[in-house]
C-alpha cells in the first residue's frame, strides 16, 4: 500500500512539473498551434518528415509556374481536378476512414456544393456590386460548405441506425436522388440538363484574379512565358483549400471528436458503454465530411465557370471511395497518394499521349479514356488481394507520455502487481 502511495506522489510531482512547462509553451500563437499537427503528430516530430513536407510544398507551389511557363495548360487543369477529388476524398475519409461508415454517395454533396455556390453567386454579385466582386466566391464557398453540411445532417437522420451494406445502399441511392433531382430542375433552380448559370449570366471573378491576370507575368528566353491564367489561379486556390482541409481534418481526427469516431469504428457497443454518444459522433462525421464536399463543389463550379449535372455520376462517387480505400482508410497521406494515383495516372497518360505521341496519341488517348475504369477495377482487386489496408495505411496515434521516464520504473513495477503479464494462454 505504502508503495503505491509513493508512486502516485512521484507521478503527481511529475505532472505538476509538466504543467509548468505546459504553461510556458501555451504562449505560442494560436495559429501556430492550429497548423502544428500537420507536421508533427502527437509530439513525434521527425526532422526528416518536416523537411520532406516542406520540400513537397515548395514543389507543389512551384509546379504551375513551370507548367504554365511551358504552356502545359491542360495538365494544369487536370491537376485542379485531382486536387478537387482529393478534397472530396478527405471529406469522405472522415466518414469512411475515421467513423467507419460506408458512403457511396459522395457526389451528392459535391453537386449540392457546386449548385449552391452558383445559384447563390448571381444574386450575391448583384447585391455586392462590382467593387466587391471579389468577395462573392469566398462567401458562396463558405455558404456551399455549410449547405452541403446541412444536407449531410439531413442524410444522417434516416441512416443513423444503418450499418455496412445497408448504409452503402442508402447513400448510393441518395447520391442518385440528388443528381436526378438536379436534372429535373426543381423549382426552376438548377436549369435541368442545360446547367447553370443561365444564358447572359457570368460568374463573378474570384478574389484578386483580374489583378493577378493583368499584373503577374514574366518571360524567360523564348520558350518560357508565364501568366496568371485561370488554370494557374485555380490550381493555387485548390491547393490552398487542400492544405486547409488537411489541417482541419487532421485537427479533428486528433481530438476528442476523432477518438469518438475511432472508438465507434472499432466497436460501437464498447464506445457507447464508455460514454461516447454514437448518434452524435455519426452526425458530426456526416456533417463535417459533407462540408468538404461543398467546398470542393464551389471551387469546381467556379473553376468551370458553370455546371451541368453530368459530372455527378455514381461512377465518380465510386472513384472518390476508391481513392480513400486504395490510398488507405483513415490515413491522410494515403488519401493524397490514392488521389494522385487514381485521378492522376489516367490524366498523365492522356496528356503524354496527346502531346508527345503525335498521330498515335489520339488513339491512345481514347484507349486510356476507355480503359481507365478497367485500370481502376484491376487496382482495386489487386489491392484487396495483397494490401487491404491501403497504400499508406492508417497509423495509430502515438503520444509522448507526460509521466513516463520521470517516475521511477522499478518503483512502479513494484507497486503495480503483474505489470508484465506473462503467457496468458493467448486464446
Amino acid at each position: 500500500m505504502t508503495n503505491t502511495k509513493n508512486t502516485s506522489n512521484n507521478t503527481t510531482a511529475a505532472y505538476e512539473d509538466q504543467a509548468v512547462k505546459g504553461k510556458a509553451s501555451s504562449a505560442e500563437a494560436i495559429f501556430g498551434n492550429i497548423a502544428k499537427p500537420m507536421f508533427s503528430r502527437g509530439g513525434n516530430k521527425s526532422p526528416l518528415k518536416t523537411a520532406l513536407t516542406a520540400l513537397l510544398l515548395v514543389f507543389l507551389f512551384a509546379l504551375p509556374i513551370y507548367l504554365q511557363g511551358m504552356g502545359e495548360a491542360l495538365l494544369l487543369a487536370a491537376l485542379v481536378g485531382i486536387g478537387l477529388y482529393v478534397i472530396l476524398a478527405l471529406g469522405l475519409n472522415i466518414v469512411v476512414g475515421y467513423a467507419g461508415m460506408l458512403d457511396f454517395g459522395r457526389m451528392a454533396f459535391y453537386a449540392v456544393g457546386t449548385y449552391a455556390a452558383i445559384i447563390l453567386a448571381i444574386p450575391l454579385a448583384n447585391l455586392l456590386g462590382d467593387s466587391l466582386e471579389g468577395l462573392v466566391f469566398p462567401l458562396v464557398m463558405v455558404a456551399a460548405g455549410l449547405i452541403a453540411a446541412f444536407v449531410g445532417w439531413l442524410l444522417s437522420l434516416p441512416v443513423m441506425r444503418l450499418r455496412g451494406d445497408y448504409l452503402a445502399i442508402v447513400t448510393l441511392g441518395f447520391g442518385e436522388i440528388v443528381r436526378i433531382t438536379i436534372q429535373n430542375n426543381p423549382f426552376g433552380l438548377t436549369n435541368g440538363l442545360l446547367g447553370l448559370p443561365d444564358r447572359g449570366n457570368v460568374l463573378a471573378s474570384p478574389p484578386f484574379f483580374d489583378w493577378l491576370r493583368d499584373n503577374v507575368y514574366w518571360a524567360l528566353g523564348n520558350d518560357f512565358f508565364f501568366t496568371m491564367t485561370r488554370n494557374v489561379y485555380w490550381y493555387y486556390m485548390v491547393l490552398i483549400m487542400l492544405i486547409v482541409a488537411i489541417i482541419v481534418v487532421r485537427n479533428q481526427d486528433n481530438s476528442r471528436l476523432g477518438r469518438s469516431w475511432a472508438a465507434m469504428r472499432e466497436d460501437e457497443v464498447a464506445a457507447s458503454a464508455m460514454g461516447v454518444n454514437v448518434t452524435k459522433a455519426k452526425t458530426w462525421a456526416f456533417v463535417l465530411g459533407a462540408f468538404w464536399g461543398g467546398i470542393a463543389g464551389a471551387c469546381f463550379g467556379f473553376f468551370l465557370g458553370g455546371i451541368s449535372p453530368e459530372p455527378f455520376s455514381f461512377l465518380n462517387s465510386v472513384i472518390v471511395l476508391a481513392i480513400v480505400v486504395i490510398g488507405g482508410m483513415g490515413s491522410i497521406p494515403g488519401v493524397l497518394v490514392g488521389g494522385v494515383l487514381i485521378m492522376g495516372f489516367p490524366e498523365l497518360v492522356r496528356w503524354f499521349a496527346m502531346n508527345h505521341l503525335g498521330q498515335a496519341g489520339g488513339d491512345i488517348q481514347s484507349m486510356v479514356a476507355n480503359f481507365r475504369n478497367l485500370f481502376l477495377g484491376l487496382l482495386m482487386v489487386v489491392m484487396m488481394a495483397v494490401r487491404t489496408e491501403g497504400i499508406i495505411p492508417m497509423k495509430p496515434k502515438f503520444h509522448k507520455l507526460f509521466g513516463k521516464g520521470k517516475s521511477d520504473k522499478g518503483d512502479h513495477t513494484d507497486a503495480v502487481v503483474g505489470a508484465a503479464p506473462k503467457g496468458g494462454a493467448g486464446s
Partner: protein, 319 residues
C-alpha cells in the same frame, strides 16, 4: 407493461422485478437485486443463466420488458448507454471489446470522453481550452494506466497486448469514466493462477482506494469467494439464491444449479466421507455412490465445496 414503480431505498443499484423477454425466452426473469455502495458483489450462475444479459440491462444495451432497475434512484430503463455511463455505471465485456486498432493510451483516453466536453469547434481551431483539456485527458489516461500497471504499453496497439493485459486495459478504460459502479464481466476468464491473484488485488484496490462499488460476474469460484461480500446466483434467468459467500457455498439450490441433482448426492457422500475420515461420525455400511470417484466436486479439508464449471475445467486443462 406491468410497470412496477419501485421505491428507492437508498441502494446504489436496485433491481425490482427486472425482466427481459426475447420471444418466448425470459433471459432475465423477475430479478430483485440490491447493491449497496462500497461493496463488492458477485453475480454467479451456470453458463447461459442470464448474467451478462443482466449487465446489458443495467448498462442500457437492453431495456427491461418488465420491472425496473434504479441507479441512485433513477431508472435506467430506456436510457441510452452513454447516458448511463455518464451517471456512473461502467463495465467490461466478457469477450474483450477493446478498440483494437487504437493504442493502449488512446483506449483509456476514450474512457475520459464522458467526463470531458470539447467538441468540433475546439478540435478544429485548437483553442487554448481544447489543448488544456486534451492534455488533461492524456494525463488522466496515463494515471489510469499506471493504476492497472500498463503504462509501459501505452503506445502499443491494444490488440498486441497479452490476454491478461487486455482484460486489465478494459478495466482501466472503464475506470477512466470515473464510475460509481463498475461491472466486471468475467475479469478472470482465461487468466492463469498468478494473473488472477493479481486481479483480485486490483479489484480490491478499486474498491478500497477508489471507493468504487464493484459488481462482478465470475466463474472462477476462487476469485468470487476471495472478493465477494455478497453473492447473487442466477439460473435460467431466475434468481435462485443470494447471500454471503459461506451461505452460497452450502446452498443446495446453487449446487444443484451448477452440478445437477446427482452431484448434490455426490457432495453429500463426499462430506460424509470427510467426516468419517475425521472420525466425527461412524462409518456407514452402505456403498458410496460411484459418481464420487470421478466427480468434478472438490472439497478442501474444511468441507468447502469447490465447484468446477465448464469454464474452469477448460482453463484448468489449458494451464
Amino acid at each position: 407493461m406491468n410497470k412496477v414503480v419501485a421505491e428507492h431505498q437508498g441502494y446504489l443499484m436496485q433491481a425490482t422485478n427486472a425482466t427481459i423477454q426475447f420471444g418466448g425466452l425470459r433471459a432475465v426473469d423477475s430479478v430483485n437485486m440490491n447493491i449497496e455502495a462500497g461493496t463488492i458483489v458477485a453475480l454467479i450462475g451456470p453458463n447461459g443463466a442470464g448474467k451478462t444479459t443482466f449487465f446489458n440491462l443495467l448498462t442500457g444495451i437492453y431495456t427491461p420488458t418488465e420491472g425496473e432497475i434504479l441507479f441512485e434512484g433513477r431508472s435506467v430503463s430506456g436510457k441510452k448507454t452513454h447516458v448511463i455511463a455518464d451517471w456512473g455505471i461502467s463495465r467490461t465485456f466478457q469477450n474483450i471489446r477493446l478498440f483494437k486498432e487504437m493504442t493502449v493510451l488512446e483506449n483509456v483516453m476514450v474512457g475520459r470522453h464522458v467526463r470531458t466536453k470539447s467538441g468540433f469547434f475546439g478540435a478544429t481551431f485548437r483553442t487554448p481550452s481544447f489543448r488544456r483539456e486534451e492534455k488533461q485527458i492524456q494525463e488522466d489516461a496515463e494515471r489510469w494506466l499506471e493504476f492497472v500497471g500498463l503504462i509501459e504499453y501505452a503506445n502499443d496497439l491494444a490488440s498486441n497486448l497479452p490476454y491478461g493485459a487486455q482484460r486489465r486495459l478494459e478495466i482501466a478504460r472503464a475506470l477512466a469514466t470515473e464510475p460509481k459502479l463498475i461491472c466486471l464481466d468475467e475479469p478472470a476468464a482465461g487468466m492463469n493462477e498468478s494473473e488472477s491473484a493479481d486481479l483480485d488485488d486490483l479489484i480490491l484496490r478499486i474498491r478500497d482506494e477508489l471507493n468504487i462499488t464493484v459488481f462482478l460476474i465470475e466463474h472462477d469460484m476462487k476469485v468470487v469467494m476471495n472478493l465477494a461480500e455478497y453473492i447473487y446466483v442466477l439460473d435460467f434467468g431466475k434468481l435462485i439464491a443470494e447471500g454471503l459467500p459461506a451461505e452460497i457455498q452450502s446452498n443446495p439450490a446453487v449446487i444443484e444449479a451448477y452440478l445437477g441433482q446427482d452431484m448434490e448426492a455426490a457432495i453429500k457422500a463426499k462430506r460424509r466421507a470427510l467426516l468419517e475420515a475425521r472420525g466425527e461420525i461412524a462409518p456407514e455400511t452402505t456403498p458410496k455412490p460411484e459418481a464420487a470417484a470421478k466427480d468434478p466436486v472438490m472439497m478442501d479439508s474444511d468441507g468447502v465445496v469447490m465447484v468446477a464449471t465448464e469454464d474452469n475445467k477448460e482453463k484448468n486443462d489449458a494451464a
